[in-house]
Assembly symmetry: C2
Homo-oligomer: 304 residues x 2
């Protein structure tokens, strides 16, 4: 049982026009599992780090009741990523990607994790994402993230994977690339025909669109005066989304809408601080308060 999270763990060095941070905790599995830990448990993490991975980061994950039985600590250096954001924070340059131990990552799912019904596949090689699914007993609700790198370099493998997932979460430019279609509504239709019944298209500061059954749900973004560090916002969104669904165990369209807003709320906390800072000391009442801010932000009604 529990929620299985597979992805990267990284040491991120990030510079924004306002500040910078060196070798901070990062990686898709990190953000997903931290975000989902506020909603549900157990969160079962599978990933890999090198022997240089700081103990305080392990402790942080453990404090959030994340089960680390699937964390492979192997000889070598941890995956490192470094990026610099431009003044408007929508553009970033990747300065360095050092895969290190992540290059040979082979996800092995511990026996006790194989019964998880909810699976969140962080943004890694679709070949590895498939290997994860192959080890699961009965993965009923699979959420998958990917990126332009895999859409361009691993398309056949990704297409195969899409037939085995429930929800694909990608951003708008990735959706256009995957479908080869500039209109986002048409692109969504084409992607859903490739497999996933549910598609979420993230639009950064413009919110997110959920395509499910014959409906579209448009979630607003939380208007922020100060975005400190956008790194991990998409992973955090996915973590809040699947965490809320695992907690409520309700896959109705109404609850899926709520889950998208909880995902957006978690992402808004994430970008308020560097690295995982915005996700370390949250409380459920704070999260609900942010959820209600989203309600207020988008509420209107028909005149009586």
């Amino acid at each position: 049982m529990g929620l299985l999270v597979v992805g990267s763990l990284a040491l991120d060095s990030v510079a924004t026009p306002f500040d910078k941070v060196e070798e901070a905790l990062g990686g898709s599995a990190t953000f997903i599992s931290l975000a989902s830990s506020y909603f549900t448990g157990p969160v079962n993490l599978v990933g890999t780090v090198g022997e240089d991975f700081p103990k305080r980061y392990i402790d942080l994950l453990a404090e959030h009741k994340i089960d680390l039985a699937g964390l492979q600590v192997v000889p070598g250096k941890t995956f490192r990523w470094s990026g610099r954001y431009h003044y408007d924070l929508n553009v970033r340059d990747t300065l360095l990607t050092e895969l290190n131990v992540f290059e040979k990552f082979n996800p092995v799912i511990p026996d006790k994790f194989r019964t998880s019904k909810f699976v969140c596949l962080g943004n890694i090689d679709p070949v590895l994402q498939m290997k994860v699914l192959d080890q699961m007993d009965d993965p009923r609700f699979v959420v998958c993230d990917t990126m332009n790198y895999w859409i361009e370099g691993r398309k056949p493998e990704l297409i195969k994977l899409l037939k085995r997932i429930s929800v694909l979460i990608i951003n708008d430019s990735e959706a256009r690339l995957l479908a080869g279609e500039p209109n986002i509504v048409k692109a969504a239709k084409m992607i859903r025909e490739m497999g996933p019944q549910i598609l979420i298209i993230k639009k950064g500061e413009h919110g997110a669109l959920l395509f499910m059954e014959n409906n579209i749900f448009s979630a607003p973004a939380y208007p922020m005066e100060m975005i400190f560090d956008p790194t991990g916002a998409g992973d955090t969104f996915a973590g809040g989304f699947i965490g809320y669904l695992h907690k409520t165990n309700d896959l109705s369209p109404e609850n899926m809408n709520r889950a998208v807003v909880y995902g957006s709320a978690m992402a808004s906390f994430c970008v308020e601080q560097f690295s995982t800072g915005g996700l370390e000391k949250l409380t459920y009442p704070k999260i609900q308060e942010r959820f209600r801010a989203f309600l207020k932000l988008s509420r209107f009604d028909e005149k009586d």
Copy 2:
């Protein structure tokens, strides 16, 4: 009484990747007055055209009960604009701007229009927009549109004007340019300090943000599989917005939210056809149906 609309009337030649149209009815005053005519009346139009302006376009405006007492028909040619949209429709090239009679436009407000309390200043030179306000008896609710061309070329005049309007409607890049600030929430604060108590930032396919009192309202955009022609969508938004407010005569925040959605609904009809085609044969029930589609699109609630 009534709603005063001042702006351009034009003959637009527009090409999209799908089709094209020659010398079709266009101009900010055209789209604003047509859109608002579905909500309220009388709509009092002030603008100028040349003697070549087709009678069928005059007839179309008159059929929508738009009062043309302020339409100056003068010797010479009507303002012509020509543009070509790219495949993704978010980018357009202006191929031709022939001001013609519009170059010497001097808005003269007929006496019977001067008592209008609601005024919509379409996107024209801020000097002319100011001339309009100077002729009004008691303009209580003034909605104003502008563009990067005036922000860059007529900043001092625009800044003066901003102190005399109630609502500024601009798009996100214009807001950033006017405030000199990339963060949209900060930019909104700075612009409201220049005068307008209410600010609407249009984000095209990403919806619109309304800043009023201490609140932000985020309106979704209607997801469309086919955008035929984006020309006039912003003007149409303004027309639907002020038309609904004039009809209801309710300037509360709740009603302002509704007005933004009615504006968005009208804009969604506008882009479904070339030129004014999408605004010519609407009915109020159709508009309400589209309003309800916006409700459905953005509705979520807190779990009991």
